[in-house]
């Protein structure tokens, strides 16, 4: 039963993180990053993300016209660099505003509850 609860809360936490993943990724792509460096940057900021999740997400955002990508060779193997397109920048600012409003509301709700 306890395991079930733990499993359940683990999944809920995963859902919560998944919800903010797009915002986190967009926030790091104001300057060009390749997948691995992006993942390292996110992990260093306390937002670890599975490799298997990050790359498909980057492709999806690119196909939605929010990101641009190009292959570059800089003292090493060729790497695919991603950066925000103007549409991505505008989405980032919209999502940022929504996030701030949402966290404010949730914070208030949690305080009311205590």
């Amino acid at each position: 039963m306890v395991d079930d609860l733990d499993g359940g809360s683990g999944k809920l936490e995963l859902d919560l993180r998944r919800g903010v993943l797009v915002l986190a990724v967009l926030s790091q792509l104001r300057r060009a990053e390749y997948g691995y460096s992006l993942r390292q940057a996110l992990a260093a900021s306390g937002m670890p993300i599975e490799e298997g999740t990050l790359y498909p997400l980057l492709r999806r955002l690119e196909s939605q016209g929010l990101l641009a990508s190009e292959w570059r060779i800089e003292d090493g193997p060729p790497r695919r660099y991603y950066t925000l397109r103007p549409e991505g920048l505008s989405t980032l600012s919209t999502l940022t505003a929504s996030w701030r409003a949402l966290t404010g509301v949730v914070e208030q709700l949690l305080e009311d509850d205590q």
């Binding site: 691995y36 490799e51 298997g52 790359y55 498909p56 492709r59 193997p77 060729p78």
Partner: protein
């Protein structure tokens, strides 16, 4: 195998599951990611990457099929979730019904074992045309639905009082039913006026007319009384709803008795067709009755007006 070979083998396994247009691009990117991740691991533990370390990394990354799935675009919905249980019942119920109709003859035959094998290769497997047909219809309906997608209209109550009847329509329905019943009642006496071929085809079995047919008159008379009461009241009430369900149940029994209780017509072909139709009507009536019982069981008691008493 060297770590590089392992990574290449893994990447190839993912790539062959991807659409052609993105295969090469994703493959290159994936190889770059896995190589970077492996080098980072090797740095962490302070030794060169080896086979075991590469295996650990690739297993943690996931099965190639799962990884490839993440790159595929999100699938589409065949039907809204609210239709799924009904769809499953309809699909499997249709298969069960076909099996129920075709299996008894197999069991009754002289060599059930080989007949069963023949049945499975004909009607048994053949019954699955029905779920396939339903899936095809659902796919077409889903495609049309997505093309014509628009916001649902604001909710409006369909009928303010679901028990109220529309009297003019009720009267017309009762008249139509009375005409239909009169034709059926007149049929045994009409043979004298029919051409000889038709008279022979529609000649009722004497035992049917003597024992079973009179109960249809009793049933119709009881229905006439019930529907007249409902017409006078202008609505269904608890008692008439209960009587209506009882009447539906009686109709099931009567139809089943007609279908499987012996000959209806003297002529074999006419009798087979008529009893087949009666059997189908029995099943339909049973479904209607079951739906009526289910709906009645799920009714809410009328709200004692806490909303209007304030």
């Amino acid at each position: 195998m060297t770590p590089a070979d392992l990574i290449d083998s893994y990447v190839n396994d993912v790539m062959r599951r991807l659409p052609g247009r993105q295969r090469r691009d994703v493959g290159l990117e994936l190889r770059e990611l896995l190589t970077d991740s492996l080098l980072a691991r090797a740095d962490e533990v302070g030794r060169a990457a080896d086979e075991a370390m590469t295996f650990d990394l690739l297993r943690a990354f996931g099965a190639p099929a799962e990884v490839a799935d993440r790159y595929h675009p999100k699938g589409f919905e065949i039907m809204p979730p609210r239709h799924a249980p009904g769809f499953a019942w309809l699909a499997l119920g249709g298969v069960a019904l076909q099996w129920a109709a075709s299996l008894p003859a197999v069991v009754r035959g002289p060599d059930p074992a080989s007949a069963l094998a023949r049945w499975w290769l004909s009607y048994g497997l053949g019954a699955f045309w029905w779920p396939g047909f339903l899936v095809a219809i659902a796919l077409i309906a889903g495609w049309i639905g997505r093309k014509a997608a628009r916001a649902p209209a604001p909710w409006k109550p369909r009928v303010l009082d679901p028990d109220r009847i529309d009297r003019p329509i009720w009267v017309v329905s009762m008249l139509a039913a009375a005409v239909g019943a009169s034709i059926l009642i007149a049929l045994p006496f009409a043979s004298a006026f029919l051409p000889p071929v038709l008279a022979q085809v529609f000649a009722f079995d004497p035992e049917f007319l003597r024992i079973r047919a009179p109960w249809a008159l009793v049933f119709w008379a009881s229905q006439l009384v019930l529907y007249t009461v409902v017409l006078r009241r202008g609505r269904w009430e608890r008692l008439t709803r209960g009587l209506g369900l009882g009447s539906d149940f009686a109709a099931c029994l009567l139809l089943a008795w007609f279908a499987w209780g012996g000959q209806v017509f003297v002529e074999r072909a006419a009798d087979g067709t008529a009893r087949g139709l009666l059997g189908l009507l029995t099943v339909m009536m049973a479904l209607i009755t079951a739906h009526g019982v289910w709906r009645e069981a799920g009714r809410l008691a009328p709200q004692r007006s806490s909303l209007t008493s304030r």
